[in-house]
């Protein structure tokens, strides 16, 4: 039948229940029903429907059944009730039953469709559980979850969402966002949400959110369009944002610090570089493996005379003679191996400027692992110092080898240096004296000299040739002549004194002896002076008598004397007069030898003229042609030079006495560097053969009968000229006159 076919085809269990007569009996059941309840068809048909119910419901069910049959409609059964079905094996299952009346010949039948809800319920339970779990999850999530409906009502929000919003969850559900957050629709956030809501787009973004209490928070929103509206996952990133900001600030600060640090480092680097560059010593760095130059400073460039560009990357072998390069590299390797500083006090270096001497330190630069990475070298050019040292050594040698005592003292009077000469002169060895106050050698009574000396030295004065009496170590007294000078440092400050002393005991003794001799000589001189004075005086008196009384005789007793007698008396007179002249001349000669030589400007021409005048006055009857060169001056003793001229001119006058055309000349010529004065006459002259006798005392080259004279005059002239460091000589010829030359203060005199 059709019905049966439909029932059979129906996906659910279908049971037809009779109403009248067999009320409540199963008329038919489909395959599904059979499967569902576990009965066979035959077991089902004719049974009360209640057998399909759990026992506890069977009693009540007929009333319901009857109620349905009184008004049968198509409707679900047991609305609002959970219906249970019972299987043959007694197990129960949830069911959904829908009833549909169907008319039949036998009356109204009910078709009951029974759906096993077990699965559905199970699934529903699962779903529910799942949902619950899901809700739990959502509820317990840190993130805020909100589901907003299209009307902006909160369909769901979890605790976190409420917390985030500083609100209470129960007050929010069902309310609109605007209600809960007044002014929200003005915000950017809302605009964003609306866009998502309307355009059904998803978005993840950050927003600053103003709380009702006016505080601000930052949130990260993930907005998802869902069928209900919008699903919003939000994370309170306020803290994170703050941290972010702090981090950013920190970063900025860090950045600044890094920059500052970098600048500092840069500065330090430049500073260090500047130091290296400006160190006046050569600074170089070589790498430890190849010993090639990696750094080279300005001083090094100056020293070697090469630029660093030519040097960097190369090694010693590229620049220096092999032997030298080997030496350098050997030292380098030694330094690197021993990992200790190597000092080379002196090494020669051939540079473009010649040979220089260096004081070098080689320093290994180790890496963090302790292995040698670089070799640092610092070389000071000690060439000048070496030369200075050598010069100093020479000076020290000079000081040491000096015969004089050379003593250095500091400001406190402590001896700083004491040479061999000092040891010899004063008798103290250097060990005994250096570093101590100089042993008091001042002889008692001379102490004040030393005190005054120190004062003057401290004022920075030099003391020259100070003679003092000192006592040697062995007690012997000696005379010492010292030159003391202040020692100044390079800034000009007084740091001590240096004295050079000579033992002048011998000299002083000599000087004393000389002084005594001089005194004695002077005393003798004075004695001689008064002696010769009185001698002359006493010798003249008798001569006067001789002459006087002879003359008296001649005058008064002339008639008693014959011619011869008279002649004899005149001889007597002449002799007495001659002797008088001798005495005068000898006295003059002696005086010339004795007297002090005054030195002043002397006008020789004037002296000559004066002498001539005297001669003319004494013999006015003579006429002599006299030529005097004017303006001839010299330096000397005027009295003594007057004597010279008197003598020379007197001679010229005398020896031209026999000539009518007597001529006397006085002048000067220059010979080499000297002025030669001359007195020339055209008188009797002399034989040059006897020229060497001219100047001897009492020596005469003429007979007294021809020309009178004492023979002392020229000796006197020679003595005076000699005392003036000059020479006198003569040229002449018999009867052809004579020229007497003399010089004064002769230069380049050959003894």
């Amino acid at each position: 039948m059709l019905l049966d076919a439909i029932l059979e085809a129906a996906p659910d269990a279908m049971i037809v229940v009779d109403s009248a007569g067999n009320a409540g009996r199963i008329q038919s059941a489909n395959g599904h029903a059979v499967n569902l309840f576990g009965y066979t068809r035959d077991e089902l048909i004719g049974q009360p429907i209640e057998i399909l119910l759990p026992e506890r419901y069977r009693a009540r069910h007929p009333s319901y059944r009857n109620g349905y049959f009184s008004d049968p409609k198509t409707r679900p059964m047991g609305a609002g009730f959970e219906l249970l079905g019972r299987r043959k094996d007694g197990t129960e299952f949830p069911a959904e039953i829908s009833l549909a009346p169907t008319p039949s010949a036998e009356g109204v039948r009910v078709i009951a469709a029974v759906r096993d809800l077990t699965e559905r319920k199970r699934v529903a339970a699962i779903v529910q559980a799942s949902e619950r779990r899901y809700h739990n999850l959502l509820d317990n999530m840190l993130e805020a979850v909100q589901i907003l409906g299209f009307d902006w009502r909160y369909l769901y929000l979890n605790d976190a969402a409420a917390r985030n919003g500083h609100q209470v969850k129960e007050e929010m559900l069902g309310r609109t966002v605007m209600e809960r957050y007044p002014g929200f629709e003005t915000t950017e956030m809302f605009a964003s949400l609306r866009q998502c809501m309307e355009q059904r787009t998803a978005r993840t973004t950050e927003f600053a959110f103003m709380y009702p209490d006016a505080t601000q928070g930052w949130f990260e929103f993930s907005i998802q369009p869902v069928p209900e509206g919008l699903f919003i996952l939000s994370l309170d990133i306020t803290a994170r944002k703050r941290v972010d900001q702090e981090l950013r600030a920190l970063n900025v600060e860090l950045e600044q610090r890094v920059q500052a640090r970098t600048a500092q480092l840069e500065e330090t680097n430049q500073f260090l570089s500047a130091i290296i560059e400006n160190i006046p010593d050569m600074v170089f760095v070589k790498d430890a493996q190849q010993l090639a130059f990696v750094r080279f400073n300005k001083a090094g460039e100056a020293l070697l005379g090469v630029t660093r560009e030519t040097l960097l990357g190369k090694s010693d072998y590229d620049f220096f003679p092999t032997a030298q390069a080997e030496f350098f590299q050997a030292k380098d390797r030694e330094t690197l191996r021993s990992k200790a500083v190597l000092e080379i006090l002196e090494e020669p270096l051939e540079t473009k400027h010649g040979r220089r001497w260096l004081h070098t330190k080689k320093i290994p630069i180790l890496g963090a692992d302790g292995a040698a990475q670089f070799l640092l070298g610092i070389s000071a050019d000690i060439t000048e110092r070496k030369q200075a040292d050598e010069a100093r050594a020479r000076l020290v040698a000079i000081v040491e080898s000096s015969e004089d005592a050379i003593i250095g003292r500091d400001l406190d009077g402590l001896v700083t240096s004491w040479n061999k000469g000092a040891e010899r002169i004063f008798g103290y060895s250097a060990e005994e004296v250096v570093g101590k106050i100089m042993p008091s050698q001042i002889v008692a009574g001379h102490e004040t000299e030393s005190g005054l000396l120190m004062q003057r030295i401290q004022k920075g004065e030099r003391i020259d040739q100070l003679a003092t009496l000192r006592r040697r170590r062995d007690g012997q007294e000696i005379y010492v002549s010292s030159n003391v000078s202040p020692i100044l440092d390079s800034a000009g400050r007084l740091i001590g004194s240096a004295s050079i002393s000579r033992d002048i005991t011998e000299t002083k003794r000599n000087q004393d002896a000389l002084a005594r001799a001089k005194d004695a000589a002077e005393a003798a001189n004075r004695e001689l002076e008064s002696f010769s004075y009185s001698v002359a005086h006493d010798l003249r008196a008798p001569l006067r008598s001789i002459d006087g009384f002879s003359q008296a005789l001649l005058e008064d007793y002339a008639e008693k004397l014959d011619t011869e007698g008279q002649q004899y008396l005149s001889f007597v007179r002449e002799s007495a007069q001659h002797m008088a002249r001798l005495i005068d001349d000898l006295l003059a000669l002696a005086r010339v030898a004795r007297s002090e030589l005054h030195r002043e400007a002397v006008d020789l021409s004037r002296l000559v003229r004066a002498a001539i005048t005297r001669l003319e006055r004494a013999q006015p009857e003579r006429s002599v042609d006299v030529m005097i060169e004017e303006g001839l001056t010299c330096e000397g003793d005027p009295r003594l030079l007057a004597v010279v001229l008197d003598n020379l001119l007197g001679n010229a006058w005398k020896f031209t006495g026999k000539r009518e055309d007597a001529r006397i000349e006085f002048g000067a010529t220059r010979k080499d560097r000297n002025t030669v004065y001359f007195v020339r006459d055209n008188g009797a002259g002399f034989d040059m053969a006897f020229a060497n006798k001219l100047f001897g005392v009492f020596q005469r080259l003429h007979a007294a009968a021809d020309f009178e004279g004492t023979g002392v005059g020229l000796a006197t002239v020679q003595r005076v000229v000699s005392r003036h460091e000059g020479r006198v000589w003569a040229e002449g010829a018999v009867n052809r006159g004579a020229t007497f030359f003399f010089t004064l203060h002769e230069q380049d005199r050959v003894a």
Binding site: Y533, R544, Q551
Partner: protein, 150 residues
């Protein structure tokens, strides 16, 4: 030349004395010549004391010829002394000596001698010198008036 101008000759050497007197004579110097033989006597005479105590001190010589080398007190001492005394301060003194030593000249003049003449050995010259002395000092020269007691 008048007689009342006295010449005091201070000379120790009798020969020189004789020669000087002779020279004065030859020169027609007829003044009274008083001769004293040493420095003490010279002063005694001038100050009218000692051997010359009886001399009239108001009468002073017109000219003093003074030798330098004298026994007892020498010529320069005499000169010095008489130049210190009011009575004899202004008397003309001619030093007549054989010395021409410079220091004597200087000292002589310093002590107030009016003239210094050297005695030559040559008598003829000596006579001439004396004559000139006399002519000048006794005739030409005006001497200072001396206080004379009436």
């Amino acid at each position: 030349m008048s007689n009342d101008k006295i010449i005091l000759l201070v000379e120790d050497n009798p020969k020189d004395e004789a020669l000087t007197l002779r020279a004065l004579n030859k020169a027609n110097v007829l003044n009274q010549v008083v001769v004293v033989h040493d420095g003490v006597e010279a002063l005694d005479y001038l100050f009218a004391r000692g051997d010359h105590v009886n001399r009239d001190p108001a009468v002073m010589p017109e000219l003093i010829l003074l030798d330098l080398k004298l026994p007892k007190i020498d010529g320069l001492e005499v000169l010095k002394t008489l130049r210190l005394d009011e009575r004899t301060k202004l008397l003309p003194v001619v030093i007549l000596t054989s010395s021409v030593e410079e220091q004597d000249l200087v000292r002589g003049y310093s002590l107030g001698a009016n003239s210094y003449v050297r005695k030559p050995v040559d008598f003829v010259q000596f006579s001439e010198a004396v004559r000139q002395l006399g002519l000048y000092w006794l005739v030409l020269n005006e001497t200072a008036p001396v206080n004379r007691k009436p």
